[in-house]
Amino acid sequence: MNAVTTRTTCPYCGVGCGVNAVVDNDAVSVAGDTAHPSNLGSLCSKGTALADTVGLQGRLLHPVVDGRRASWGDALDEVAARFGAIIAEHGPDAVAFYVSGQLLTEDYYVANKLMKGYIGSANIDTNSRLCMSSAVAGHKRGFGEDVVPGCYEDLEVADLVVLVGSNTAWCHPVVYQRIVAAQENNPNKKRVVIDPRRTATAEGADLHLPIAPGTDVHLFNGLLAFLAENGFDSDLPGARDAVAEARQMGDLEDVAEACGVDADTLKAFFELFAQTERTVTVFSQGVNQSSAGTAKVNAILNCHLLTERIGKPGACPFSITGQPNAMGGREVGGLSSTLAAHMGFDAAERVQRFWDSPAIADKPGLKAVELFEAIEAGQVKAVWIMATNPLVSLPDADRAKRALEACEFVAVSDCMRHTDTVDRAHVLLPAAAWAEKSGTVTNSERIISRQRDFLPMPGEAKPDWWIVCEVARRMGFGTGFDFDSAAAIFREHAALTVFENNGERVLNLEGLADLSDAEYDTLEPLRWPVYSTEALRAAGAMPARTDSRRLFADGIYPTADGKAHLIAVTPRGPANALSDQWPLALNTGRVRDHWHTMTRTAKSARLSAHIPEPFVEIHPRDAERFGVIDGAIATVSTALGKAHVRTIVSDGQREGTLFVPMHWNDQFAAKARVGALANPAVCPISGEPEFKHTPAAIAPFEAAWHGFILASRPLRLNGEAGIDYWVKVPGERFYRYEIAGLHTPDDWAATARGWIGVGARSADWVEAHDEAAGRYRAAHFDAGHIEACVFIAPEPAALPDRSWLASLFTGEAVDESERAGLLAGRPAEASKDVGPQICSCFGVGRNTIQRAITEDGLDSVAAVGEALDAGTNCGSCKPEIAALIDAHAGE
């Protein structure tokens, strides 16, 4: 069989990279699609590792009802009947859908249609509420519609790129690499990073403003006032008020003090901004996830509107989304605060007419946080969750857990058999996964790309749109859901964007409303608005498109008065202030190589290797003040919950703040769901939660012992005697568990055997014990190959590096010399030890890079790449390589 290449789209962040998936017999490999305009062939570490994630381990492959395997018919009947009964008794607002930016546009469309047009409630909200809704609300207030006016090319053309609340280097690596590459070609191009943390993005930036958490409005109001002082003026609606409000900030010194930054640096930024016509301001979750999120967005938009830097090459405000199809979801209207196709509830009658539906939602529904509160309160009695894991990702996640536990009926569509959320469902519906799904997604620069299936759907898995349509049919709504393909749904979605549009809505897919199935299948990536099929066809092939790269260049906006609006925004602090009890501001976010709740990325050993454990980053002075030590475990707590995580002491973390990543959950750690700690304060306009600021405390986790287990099979350590801290790290042919306990077991051998499940005295078990020193090490072999090993020590630093041990889990027999020294934790020869992984793409370890730097005298990232390949694929690890060069060059 020959290799078959399928052009599809990456399922991770909102950059929306084109991916060529190659299936050669059973082997899957991926490469960047050089023909895709968003990535031009590049992929980041996560995208590069996609082939690692398509395996079936852990997949949900058949429907489950009340814990038992069920037929599709029974499972769908159950969902339809339970929803139907609750609606009949309590009305449409007693049910809800909670969906996801991971759904394809077609899935999203039918879910939205079912809830808003057939059930007749707007209780469909999405995890996009958690990341993008402030941008949506800000865009609507400023522009009249949720529209990103620019494209990635603008980031290259710009002379100044301002990155606000965005660790682009880790969260949108391909876009970041495009910026860095452009900067290499344009020595005058400047990069400014505004972020309380000195992230990987801030490394190498021309300016870094480590502002105090929540002071973005202070900063951009200060900038607006500065711009007004320096000759910028506007007669746009709201401009006068916005500037007047901004002037309340006082002079530059006052702004610097309010933001907690150096006044000279601030001045340099203001001047740079004022002087640079081609300026793009990129913003992301650091702006959006705030109780003042919408105000922050408008504070940024105000500066661009005042300086008329919108719709021009290299000049625009640029919201970069977190999810692969947050934009598609926004386009179909899959938020409880919008109706459909960028129309609000004032268009209810029109949308109902288009749908010819029995009902229509005429008012906004519950937003994510409110929705789970309503579930807990019993107002919402049935919920259907699709493709998301709210028990991990919502703020006050333990409350969400209680809500689901109390909920009368919970249905979950997912591709995984176990997630924190799936484990609480009454009905499980097996959804097709990325490699098996077909449809469209829209990325952060409005490019619609096809996601194409290249693997058969396993077991009984089905596309999400099919599941929704089947439930709708069983609820008696057959006519509205009589779709036989994703293409048919897409055509209807496109038609709705055109329906009675009359130029009022920028979102217009006129040119796509009557695509044939074949045209849909071969659709090239293209950017909306798409006005005419005729024009596309005239150009011969689909890639031809009207120049939709930049919008609003004509100054005409989809508002009532046709103008953009500046919004006067008043700076204020986070919803919950710090106190003596909770003296630190807890911030949450992503790491480079994990995604969301790890259901996909944790299938990849190389992705799991970059940052294996959940951690808290803390400033050295705070660490000293609260007695926590680098490398040890700390307990981070808030009024809502606790997490046990590894401590990283770093002066890149702003004093008075903590950072804990959002990914880890009960499937991968004993207690590291940071969602359970985050306060559910929300932006009053967007409803987006304030993940970036929860008052918190930190204390040492007083472990009596620390250790790790490497095992060829997954272990069940939940509630295992003696283990108070554990983190599961999937590896290549092994699972790694970092563990710790508050009390020392009486009998280490029996305890360790219990963890690994080795009862027989005759088992091939090797152990080394130094009781007085608190050191225990053991390994279990079967037929010569290693099954598991356990290392225990009183201090984390006293444990050996995991990488060499991990390399023994090959499935082959361990040779005798390695066996003899295995419990030493390292090979007899030091040069065999490569150290922890830095470059995920090529699997290059820290020690290897360090040796190349010191022994071969390499002094640049390029030279390291030349010698070791490290950093030459996705480039995500370049900042770390640079840091190693800084630390070791010349040694």
């Binding site: 090797v766 152990e767 080394a768 130094d770 009781e771 020193a773 072999f781 020294g821």
Partner: protein
């Protein structure tokens, strides 16, 4: 040098064994012109390496391979050698030794290296024909001869020597049972875990054991030949035996010294320069008691020889302060190494390693981060290294976590080869 102009003194060495000859070698090297040397050996052979008797018994080595000094060595060094001639008296007043042939030789310095005698359990039947000790090449010849007829051998004593004898006889085709008073083998050198591994391994090789068994009597026929053994147990059980090898310990040979009026306890008591109560008379080896210790191993003997030779050569003082001993069992394919004190005494900390499938067990006992004892079973590569660290009293805290795995895991460690003991 004044040395060369002085008249030579007379040095007489009683005992042609390893301790005496090692001392002599060192004296000759340090002060070749100082002494006229005379050596008496009670055995008829020239000197051989006694610790290699076990491999000879097992057939792994021939006697010629373990000879250490041929007659030409004595001639080349101008030494007068009397073999098969035992000294029976020392006339300290006249400074003369008298041999069993009546020969009298005068001395200025006398070195006693009379060694030890195997201890024979005084049970009924201990003089029967076929009751053999394991001490010299004569004993080896007797065992080899007996084994040629096959049959059953009983070895009394599960210590180092007993096990080596048992293994040798087993290799020579005999059906061997080891009878040991204690519940574990080599209890002075091994902890129970290592002893169990050793017993298991020897059982796998075909040896039988009667542990915790006290011998009541050795049984014989009318011709005075050994036929079996009776135990001192509830039912007076018996086993058959064609030979009985006694390997229950040694006794220092002190009779000659005692007769000469030298102070003896268990052994001939010496001071830190290896002198007896008569300062002209030195003593080294297994016949010696130093600071209440008697040694049956070769390493202390080398230490003693070195101090003694130094003194005899007028090279100034070095002092013997006692030895830390290490033991290795010489049974092909079974590696056992033991040194120091490995009991779980107050203030000690124990490190253990075990690999059941490979049959490897290690136990290192520390006191104040210094090695005081080590037992190695199955993998003795690092025995010499541990022994060196132990003798030097080296602080191991810096690499304590890697200690069990050996010097190959230490950065910059200079390899230390295991020493024979």
């Amino acid at each position: 040098m004044s040395q060369t102009t002085q008249p030579k003194l007379d040095l007489v060495v009683i005992g042609n064994g390893m301790a005496g000859l090692r001392t002599l070698e060192e004296v000759l090297e340090a002060a070749p012109e100082r002494y006229n040397v005379t050596v008496f050996g009670a055995e008829p052979h020239v000197s051989y390496n006694r610790i290699m008797l076990s491999p000879v018994l097992a057939g792994d080595k021939a006697f010629e391979e373990i000879e250490t000094h041929g007659r030409d060595w004595y001639e080349d060094n101008g030494i007068t050698l009397y073999t098969g001639e035992a000294v029976v008296d020392i006339d300290r007043r006249r400074r003369m030794v008298i041999s069993d042939t009546g020969r009298e030789i005068g001395y200025d310095r006398l070195l006693l290296a009379t060694g030890s005698t195997p201890f024979i359990l005084p049970v009924p039947g201990h003089t029967l024909d076929g009751v053999i000790s394991f001490r010299d090449i004569g004993d080896v010849h007797r065992m080899v001869e007996a084994s040629e007829k096959g049959g059953k051998a009983v070895v009394i004593g599960g210590g180092l020597l007993g096990l080596e004898a048992a293994y040798g006889l087993h290799k020579r085709g005999m059906d061997v049972t080891i009878v040991h008073l204690m519940d574990t083998l080599m209890e002075r050198q091994l902890d129970p875990t290592a002893a169990d591994l050793l017993q298991y391994s020897l059982t796998q090789r075909g040896l039988s054991f009667r542990m915790g068994a006290k011998t009541a009597a050795i049984l014989g026929d009318e011709a005075g030949r050994v036929t079996g053994l009776r135990f001192d147990d509830a039912d007076d059980s018996e086993i058959d035996a064609d030979i009985v090898v006694m390997a229950v310990g040694i006794r220092p040979n002190v009779e000659l010294a005692k007769t000469a009026g030298l102070h003896c306890e268990k052994g001939i008591v010496v001071n830190d320069t290896m002198q007896t109560y008569d300062p002209r008379i030195y003593a080294v080896g297994e016949c010696v008691e130093h600071r209440h210790s008697v040694y049956g191993l070769v390493a202390p003997l080398w230490d003693q020889a070195s101090v003694c030779a130094n003194h005899l050569a007028y090279r100034g003082h070095t002092q013997y302060e006692g030895s830390v001993t290490a033991t290795q069992l010489k049974v092909t394919g079974i590696d056992v190494y033991s040194a120091g004190d490995f009991s779980d005494a107050e203030g000690t900390e124990t490190l253990t390693f075990s690999d059941v499938r490979r049959g490897v067990y290690k136990r290192i006992v520390l006191r104040d981060d210094r090695i005081v004892g080590v037992v190695l079973y199955g993998d003795t590569r690092d025995g010499g290294w541990y022994f060196k660290l132990m003798r030097e009293g080296a602080d191991v805290s810096a690499f304590r976590d890697l200690l069990l795995f050996g010097q190959a895991y230490l950065p910059d460690a200079k390899p230390v080869d295991a020493e024979a003991a």
